[in-house]
Amino acid sequence: MDLFAFVKPKNELETTADKQHNVPFVPEEMWVKCPKCNTLLLTTDMEENLHVCTHCHHHFRMSAKQRIDLLTDKSSFREQDKDLTSKNILSFPGYNEKLEKACKKANESVRCGTGTINGVLTELCVMDADFMMGSMGTVTGEKITRAFEYATENRLPVVICTVSGGARMQEGILSLMQMAKTSGAVKRHSDAGLLYITVLTDPTTGGVTASFAMEGDIILAEPNALVAFAGPRVIEQTMRQKLPKDFQTAEFVLQKGFIDAVVPRASLKPTIARLLKMHGYGED
């Protein structure tokens, strides 16, 4: 079943250590501590469990690459506009250095392309927290806009997985305008009668929440993901009071009526596939 298509990495270090010292030894990088329940988890176990804590089901962040592998059928993803890269258009102090660092961690704040989801051809955009916390710059907006335009032209459904700290302030007004630009492209896709599903992952905030994240025909979210316009710290500063514990979690936002369903990671691909098929995609 391609839902569990993750290849479990060979635990080479462990076996080598065993041989050498003849004592159980697990190097530190093989463990990860769950920030929610503090359980120590074997990295391999966690990866096999789709980066979800085996103990408390806390959903760890995934890179764009991991998420593309999670959602698309094996080797079906064809990336678009991979060569579009952020530039320091406003000559903002310190931004060149930040971009340099970000580029070492990820290709861009969003990766877009076509892929099949249980056989259904879909335009997929996946944001990447490893690139400046998925903040929306002009390249983010341009890639998403192009994705929607391509999908409109080719009558494809769009699925976007969001993760974003908000607008990219180093690109000033240009980053703000990406909210309008992407929203326009979403509207045209929508007016063409095509399906758009958003998957909100932790955290989805600011300008992304106030544009394409909240514009899906169907809005799904991962358990416990932070979904907000103004982040909790901003609100705490304004209100000068502590916020309720579950405030702005996916479950809270669901209860307030702003998302359709909270879907655990393991059910994400089958859920999306069912929704695509219910809208008549992949029938020819």
Partner: protein, 276 residues
């Protein structure tokens, strides 16, 4: 903080503009409505869903012989008014009232004039619970294809998504002392440099003045700052607004929405020359 990739900028000027845009003695949206439309203004209230947000003042008025829909963000002119208006920080119901009246304007193909003056959408518990992000997002989407002319004038602060939610327009104008930014210079300085006292440097770096924005084609016009008794200035502003509406009223729905889409579509395309 001096950096090899930094252009020389006049820090004082940018931040002085920010302070001027926030000046509590300057004219607010209700002043503009009074001086341009006088007694013809009929205020309309409520979003028909939750309540009436007083941070947004909206209604109908006559621009010469043409009825228009006016939507303004109102900061208030004294302490009492400012409290009542929530300092011009709208809640979701404010943006939904605006959208309701824009859709109404579309029904009657009545031009829409938006007057923007806000430090941003209100960041609070109720605003989040009622979907601040969703409300703004819906406005962006719906305004893009609204089949009636829309003109937005920034008359003070243009604070991020809360301002943009009324600025997906055929043309966007700014007063000479207005600013428009993705984040406040204080917020930017405290996030990037952990020091909100560096707001003046942030203001310069953000390129947020009317002059900056006009310089790289983000806005169509800079308007001279009018004074309360400057009736001739308001008359010429009215004339400019009327001419713009007339030009856009002459377009078909398709031409109008195509033009609006193209206006935003070109912003930040990678090959375009946006370096100020």
């Amino acid at each position: 903080m001096a950096n090899s990739n930094t252009n020389p900028v006049n820090t004082n000027t940018a931040y002085e503009k920010v302070l001027a845009a926030r000046d509590s003695n300057k004219l607010t949206a209700v002043d503009y409505i009074k001086y341009m439309f006088g007694d013809s203004f009929i205020e309309l209230h409520g979003d028909r869903r939750f309540s009436d947000d007083k941070a947004i003042v909206a209604g109908l008025a006559m621009l010469y012989e043409t009825p228009v829909t006016i939507i303004g963000i109102e900061k208030g002119r004294n302490t009492k008014e400012r409290m009542e208006r929530n300092f011009g920080q709208a809640h979701p119901e404010g943006y939904r009232k605006a959208l309701r009246l824009m859709k109404q304007a579309e029904k009657f193909r009545r031009p829409v004039l938006c007057l923007v003056d806000t430090s941003g959408a209100f960041p609070g518990i109720g605003a989040e619970e009622r979907g601040q992000g969703q409300a703004i997002a819906e406005n962006l989407m719906e305004m893009m294809t609204l089949k009636t002319p829309v003109l937005t004038i920034l008359i003070g602060e243009g604070g991020s998504g809360g301002a943009l939610a009324l600025a997906v327009a055929d043309e966007v104008w700014m007063l000479e002392n207005a600013v428009y930014s993705v984040i406040s210079p204080e917020g930017c300085a405290s996030i990037l440099w952990k020091d909100s006292a560096k707001a003046p440097q942030a203001a310069a770096a953000l390129k947020m003045t009317a002059q900056d924005l006009f310089g790289f084609g983000m806005i169509e016009r800079i308007i001279r700052q009018p004074k309360a008794d400057d009736q001739s200035m308001f008359e010429s502003l009215k004339l400019l607004i009327m001419r713009t509406f007339e030009k856009n009223l002459a377009l078909t729905d398709e031409e109008l929405t195509e033009q609006r889409y193209a206006r935003f579509r070109k912003i930040g395309t990678i090959d375009s020359e946006l370096i100020p």
